[in-house]
Amino acid sequence: MTESKTMTLNMGPQHPSTHGVLRLVLELDGEVVVRCTPHIGYLHTGIEKGLESKRFQQGIPLTDRLDYLAPLSNNLALVLAVEKALGIEVPERAQTIRVLLTELTRIKGHLVWLGTHALDIGAMSVFLYCFREREQILDMYEAVSGQRMMSSYFRVGGLLADLPPGFEQQVEEFLAAFPSRVEEYEALLTKNPLWRQRTVGIGAIKAADAIALGLSGPSLRACGVAYDVRKAQPYCGYERYDFDVPIGRVGDVYDRYTVRVAELKQSHRLATQALHRLEPGPINVADPKLVPPPKRLLKSSMEALIHHFKLYSEGFQVPAGEVYQAIESPKGELGVYLVTDGSNRPYRVHYRAPSFVNLQALPRMVEGRLVADVVAVIGSLDIVLGEIDR
């Protein structure tokens, strides 16, 4: 008698709780997951290949499409890698604006995570509150770059443009109201018995396993490992800011929730500090070979015209070599490995996408548990398929 006891169920690629086009093949024994096999690649768009054929500055808009919930983090990783290869550092004001905007990006990314994660588990109203605040951050994106989502605001050597008038006021108002908003989310979830029932003790992973599986970001910190690239290998002057790295204890879905909510508060702290640090000054390096001259000079200065023409027709060369630049994106360690050959285009760009690595731990977290828990665990990992499939 060879009667099969298990049933194979395809979850995705079109399933609302898989946050995009993730396909899981679940082998079920009743309602218990015996085996889970993720299949990815449905959103593969060849971004790394595309970057090889674009000049350094031209590649930035492509990177927005990786983790499309945190476009500025993707920009930042590439821009910092190119700057490292060039051996330059951007001025103080540009660094502060980068910190301010990437922290707002983290808040924005975590808000989408919280809203959709709660929605997956059945708490509908949290989603509406989170998107209300996210909208304000999108307005700030629009103010600085003219784009709500794919903003491409960071450039090699600095920024696209300085902050528009009234921007600081806009951020100030948002930051003043934000702590009370986080209280609202927490009032809905943190002590809610239904929420705790669905999250406490679900999908737990031990710290040693998490490290071996390469987890990073909030998913690793929930296991009690305080690894944050902003502290471990600071960039953009993070070593001068005062902030804590929240950690969890057992690494279950609930801990990942508490860690991210605590990070919302830390990002608020960082953004507030950055806002108060903003002082007038240049936003780009003073190198006409890297940064286009002001438009008004083009009609009066031959040099400016030549530089402008060269930059837009040919770009700039980066010395041959290789660098790895990691940043702390909302999802974890986002690393760019850049190989240059002395030309005006990257020879090879690899994105170490945190979601890609974190998703690999999913089978470990859900095998032996119920199907309903799969939804909770996927939500808690905060994956974005754009970044996984690249």
């Binding site: 690649g41 290949k49 490992v225 490995y337």
Partner: protein
């Protein structure tokens, strides 16, 4: 810029090359090349020594490279130095000493690289991606399949001789 480069190399090289020194002491034959650039250390290893060297780097009490950040590939076809053609690149990080190191293994087309899945389970998907995108086979990998491209895809997209823009040919039309 060259002055700055010199300063950086002078300041950081002794600290970083600690890793290379330790590794050389233990596996004198394994290291083919050590490079420093922009405060980063690159160690090129013989493929045969990779797994033992990584185990050592992970377990050595002074180094403790316990975190494998990423594994990726480079097709060196269009670089001035391009033999062997393919390169597998490993980025290691130590949560204790907060240091990074880059390891490399170079192989020709079709040659296999030992898999690191026994040392770090996270290598699993990374190696599948390198296999998919560059066509480097990994020996000892538990589940070596394509990961981003469809199973029946032909070619390896991130190789330099793979066109950036091309329409895949799904069928042949019969001549009229």
């Amino acid at each position: 810029m060259s002055e700055r480069e010199g300063q950086e190399a002078g300041r950081e090289a002794p600290v970083e090359s600690l890793t290379a020194q330790h590794l050389r002491g233990r596996f004198p034959e394994a290291i083919l090349e050590v490079k420093h650039w922009r405060n980063e250390t690159t160690i090129v290893l013989r493929a045969a020594a990779l797994v033992a060297a990584c185990r050592f780097l992970r377990d050595d009490p002074e180094l403790q490279f316990d975190f494998l950040s990423s594994v990726t590939g480079v097709d060196r076809q269009q670089l001035p130095e391009n033999s062997p053609r393919l390169e597998v690149v490993y980025h290691l990080y130590s949560l204790h000493t907060k240091r990074r190191v880059r390891l490399k293994v170079r192989v020709d087309d079709g040659e296999a690289v030992p898999s690191l899945t026994e040392v770090w389970p996270t290598a699993n998907w990374h190696e599948r991606e390198v296999f998919d995108m560059f066509g480097v086979p990994f020996t000892g990998h538990p589940d070596l399949r394509r990961i981003l491209m469809p199973e029946d895809w032909e070619g390896h997209p991130l190789r330099k001789d793979y066109p950036v823009e091309a329409t895949p040919k799904w069928w042949e039309e019969e001549p009229a």
